[in-house]
């Protein structure tokens, strides 16, 4: 049995409701992505097209049954994404990493629309990572274009490109029909997976596919539909592999299997930059099923964190349980690293002290100090945000098979391009010979933009010499993450006698995201920490944004809407405070600051422009939907917030009730969003609903803290994600603004926390300036009664 066929991996999913197994597939990073023109040429010339691997269903290994569900490909593909089977099935490749953001549905929708086929006829097939050798420098070509998942870029990247993929395939089919009928292609039209002749004759795509595949596609773009003719884009569409998910056959990285592959659990040094002191593995080796115990080295002290995160002892065993028992039986003495005595409490003191010094000016307009001197009123507040873990429901994992000259990786990933580069750097195996399959991924949230778990699998496999799968437990995950940075924000506003904001200062003392980050040499020092161009930048004449880096020994990473979430809480809370301090309505103050609809420069991710009118409109819609300004029951309050995130706009309006005992009830939750053109309204609703719940869950309860050099949280009881009982319904209002699409996976979170604390203030007259809210509400309520 070959490696390819043995994997319970690649296969197909039916867009309608047909049976299928789930798949493995791939992705590419921007660095090696081709221009669109090059990409289309590669796509058109690549022979073989969609790879249809034989499927081994979950039970097959046990029962030796179950034939492959898909017939072998008969027809040649039309480009790299489309194959039309003789039975009329339209097979469309999905190129993205499916982490729950819906790209396995939305990206094929773009192709299907321009191909002009009914969505019910479409079978979605996950594509592998598509890096191939090329005669042109640098010797590599991306076969499918961008495949990673990060920054909410999948839809904007694909919007033109994948519609062209569909349109070009349709163009070929029309040319084929024109040949058959000896008729000008211009007179022909398509409908329902058929080409229609003016005299009423029709030819199905299935009958034309073979002839069309032999034709040469044109250079450059072909015409695309007018959006008035769309029957897929803009229409609510369920997730393509919903049936596979609810029947348990959808395969995730953790489900990948390979004959002979062993299971690995790693005991990791709990101290950052610590190392292995003493190891006694004699008991572990006696556990039945334990095959080997090997060590892996720590990252080089002070060096970029571009491999594994920690020194470790890897137990290689027949299955999870024996690996677990083996790991429990290890006797290890770790040598602590330089941060062994550090703590979150000490970090907070250092951050407070940092404000006494000057920092790095990220943006300066006018003269804030002068505005402050002449102000009629000055408002100053401090806000604190914790480290956050990603806590993907599927913990990290990686199945790897290293051979002398080739490698196979099956893992739940967000950045397979980086994984490919890493394996190449660690093994010397040429990148086109590193096969990477992408199963469904049980949540990403930015965690899997790092491939440290892949590095571990490579390190262990290099020593063990067998195919193996590294699994992480929840404890491994919460204690070995690339955490969202910790930060203290100090905001100051200068107001004139009329309440106009004349000066705005936002100083951020934070653990720099860039600290020991790999591949970020060219980024600003404050990346991920200071939203220098976010609202109200550009709307206040005297403005300064400043960064004060604070030392701490903990790896940092991107966490869903990283900078926007980090920035929105202090900024949107402070706007609310400034309004109340100056006896203005918080919504009216925001509108006054936003001013006339116009574009402002925005230099960070999501730019180059921020449209104040679009930001005002999402606020207006959220306020209208919740009935902002209406009389509320006693102890109820409504809070608002909005944010510009990665090119999209979202606002939340939240109504809460705070009881005399400090019990918080989230009464209503409204989200208004403008992410430009809408591809799948059902998917968008899901992203904003889920983002809102994520935002509430995080604001209420989640933080990572360090004591004596170690992360204190170990499992979900210490990091209590929101459960059903607390989760409100979310009313999502999508605004059709006519702009090109941004993504949607991240825009739903940033305004949630500030809208929530603003609502709590409106309900209780008590202001919360530290996240998570946690137990603060109890004390807050007493304070509230004392105030009133």
């Amino acid at each position: 049995m070959s490696v390819v066929n043995a994997l319970s991996a690649a296969s197909a999913v039916s867009a309608a409701s047909g049976p299928s197994a789930a798949g493995a597939a791939g992705a590419v990073s921007g660095r090696h992505a081709l221009t669109r023109r090059e990409f289309l040429q590669v796509s058109a010339s690549a022979a073989g097209g969609l790879v249809v691997s034989l499927v081994m269903p979950p039970l097959a290994a046990a029962e030796g049954a179950a034939p492959p569900k898909l017939p072998a490909a008969v027809n040649q593909p039309l480009g790299s994404f489309v194959r039309i089977e003789p039975d009329g099935r339209i097979v469309i490749g999905a190129r993205g990493c499916e982490i729950g953001q819906g790209v396995r549905t939305s990206l094929p929708m773009l192709i299907a629309e321009e191909l002009d086929v009914p969505w019910s006829a479409v079978t979605v097939e996950q594509l592998p990572y598509g890096l191939i050798a090329s005669p042109d420098p640098p010797g590599l070509a991306s076969r499918y274009g961008p495949q990673g998942a990060g920054g909410s870029t999948s839809i904007p990247d694909a919007w033109h490109e994948l519609r062209q993929v569909g349109a070009r395939a349709r163009w070929l089919l029309v040319q084929a029909a024109a040949q058959v009928w000896q008729q000008s292609a211009a007179a022909l039209r398509t409908e329902d997976a058929q080409v229609a002749h003016p005299d009423g004759r029709r030819l199905s795509y299935a009958r034309l596919a073979q002839r069309a595949a032999a034709l040469t596609p044109p250079d450059g773009d072909v015409p695309m539909k007018d959006k008035s003719a769309y029957h897929i884009i803009g229409h609510p569409t369920r997730v393509a592999d919903g049936r596979d998910i609810v029947t348990g056959v959808a395969a995730y990285g953790i489900d990948a299997a390979l004959p002979g592959a062993l299971t690995v659990l790693i005991a990791r040094c709990p101290y950052f930059d610590g190392s292995l002191g003493e190891l006694d593995d004699s008991e572990a080796r006696r556990i039945p099923g334990v095959r080997q115990v090997v060590t892996i080295p720590p990252p080089r002290a002070g060096a970029p964190l571009d491999r594994n995160l920690a020194a470790g002892v890897a137990v290689i065993a027949d299955d999870f349980w024996s690996a677990h028992r083996g790991r429990e039986a290890l006797r290890i003495r770790w040598t602590a690293g330089p941060g062994a005595k550090d703590s979150s409490a000490a970090l907070e003191q250092r951050a407070a002290a940092a404000f006494g010094k000057g920092g790095l000016i990220a943006r300066q307009d006018g003269d804030f100090a002068a505005a402050r001197r002449t102000a009629a009123r000055i408002v100053e507040r401090t806000y604190i945000e914790p480290f956050l873990a990603h806590a993907t429901m599927e913990p990290p994992n990686a199945l790897i098979d290293l051979k002398a000259n080739r490698a196979l990786l099956v893992a739940s990933l967000q950045s397979p391009g980086d994984a490919s580069r890493m394996i190449n750097a660690m093994t010397g195996i040429p990148r086109p010979d590193i096969e990477i399959r992408l199963p469904r991924t049980g949540g990403g949230f930015g965690r899997r933009l790092q491939n440290d778990f892949v590095a571990e699998a490579v390190l262990v496999a290099q020593k063990a010499g067998v195919p193996l799968k590294v699994l992480w437990t929840r404890e491994d995950d919460l204690q070995n993450d690339f955490y969202r940075p910790f930060g203290v924000h100090r905001l100051s506003a200068a107001l004139d006698a009329t309440g106009r904001v004349t000066g705005w200062s936002h100083r951020v003392a934070a653990t720099a995201r860039k600290w020991r980050a790999a591949g970020m040499e060219d980024e600003t020092d404050w990346i991920g920490c200071v939203d220098r161009d976010g609202f109200p930048a550009g709307c206040v004449e005297n403005y300064v944004a400043e960064f004060l880096p604070v030392d701490f020994q903990l790896a940092r990473g991107w966490w869903r809407a990283p900078l926007p979430t980090f920035a929105a809480f202090p900024i949107e809370s402070f706007l609310d405070e400034v309004a109340h301090e100056s006896r203005q309505d918080p919504l009216a103050l925001r509108f006054a600051l936003l001013g006339a609809p116009r574009e402002l420069d925005y230099r960070d991710h999501g730019g180059p422009k921020l449209h104040t009118g679009r930001l005002a409109e999402v606020l207006r819609q959220a306020a209208r939907a919740i009935g902002y300004g209406r009389k509320l029951p006693p102890r109820h309050g409504v809070g608002l917030a909005s944010h510009f995130t990665h090119g999209g706009y979202a606002a939340h309006a939240i109504e809460v009730a705070v009881s005399e005992h400090g019990e918080l009830d989230i009464v209503r939750c409204v989200c208004a969003a403008d992410v430009g053109a809408i591809v799948n309204p059902l998917g968008l609703d899901a992203q904003f609903m889920g983002g809102t719940v994520d935002g509430l869950s995080t604001a209420l309860s989640l933080e990572i803290t360090v004591k004596a050099g170690r992360v204190q949280q170990a499992n979900f009881p210490d990091y209590p994600l929101m459960r059903m009982a607390r989760a409100p319904d979310v009313e999502v209002h999508l605004i059709e603004s006519g702009f090109p699409p941004s993504g949607s996976g991240e825009m739903g979170i940033p305004p949630v926390a500030p809208a929530l604390v603003n609502a709590i203030f409106a309900a209780s007259a008590v202001r919360l300036r530290r996240l998570p809210i946690g137990a603060q509400l109890k004390g807050v309520s007493r304070q509230s009664r004392a105030v009133s």
């Binding site: 046990a62 029947t247 953790i254 299997a257 999870f320 993907t392 049980g442 949540g443 719940v693 409100p728």
Partner: protein
């Protein structure tokens, strides 16, 4: 897969209506028997301490968390996993409702959510929001509002089928 050095009395049980036998370490949690030995990977690992519910299966018709249920407790018992919920290609009403309400995002927790919902509907044929709020399965994607709708839809369908 278990080394010969460790010999245990075989545990006989039924998994998805088929007889099964396990002669490995009786302290092995049911989750890892299902995933590593029965090759039923639809049941997911999330926390290992019975907290998140991703591993929810039915034992003798009752929802249990497979990650903290040792094989030693399963002699003579009947286990149903997500793979065994549908009958002859016909989805369970809860599975169908999950599709119709388009519940899954990443989908990883949904097998456990569905098994917990099926269990709830056995006990409460017309569950209130308060009944649904007793479900403690975690979903990191935040699909709870659609889970509520799907449970109500499934309950309505099951009740209609009974009358």
């Amino acid at each position: 897969m278990i080394a010969a050095a460790e010999v245990h009395v075989a545990i006989e049980l039924t998994v998805n209506a088929r007889p099964a036998s396990f002669a490995g370490d009786p302290s092995m949690p049911l989750l890892w028997y299902l995933r590593d030995h029965a090759h039923l990977t639809g049941t997911k690992f999330g926390c290992g301490i019975g907290y998140c519910g991703a591993c929810t299966v039915h034992v003798d018709g009752v929802a249990v968390r497979a990650c903290v249920t040792p094989m030693s407790a399963l002699s003579g018992r009947t286990v149903i996993t997500i793979e065994g919920l549908a009958h002859g290609g016909a989805l369970h009403a809860v599975q169908q409702a999950w599709i119709e309400e388009d519940v899954p995002q990443c989908g990883y927790c949904q097998a456990g959510q569905i098994m917990a919902a099926v269990d709830l509907l056995k006990r409460k044929s017309a569950p209130t929001d308060a009944d649904i709020a007793t479900l403690t399965n975690l979903c990191r994607c935040g699909t709870y509002p659609r889970i509520r709708k799907a449970i109500r839809r499934a309950a309505a369908q099951l009740n209609a089928a009974r009358t």
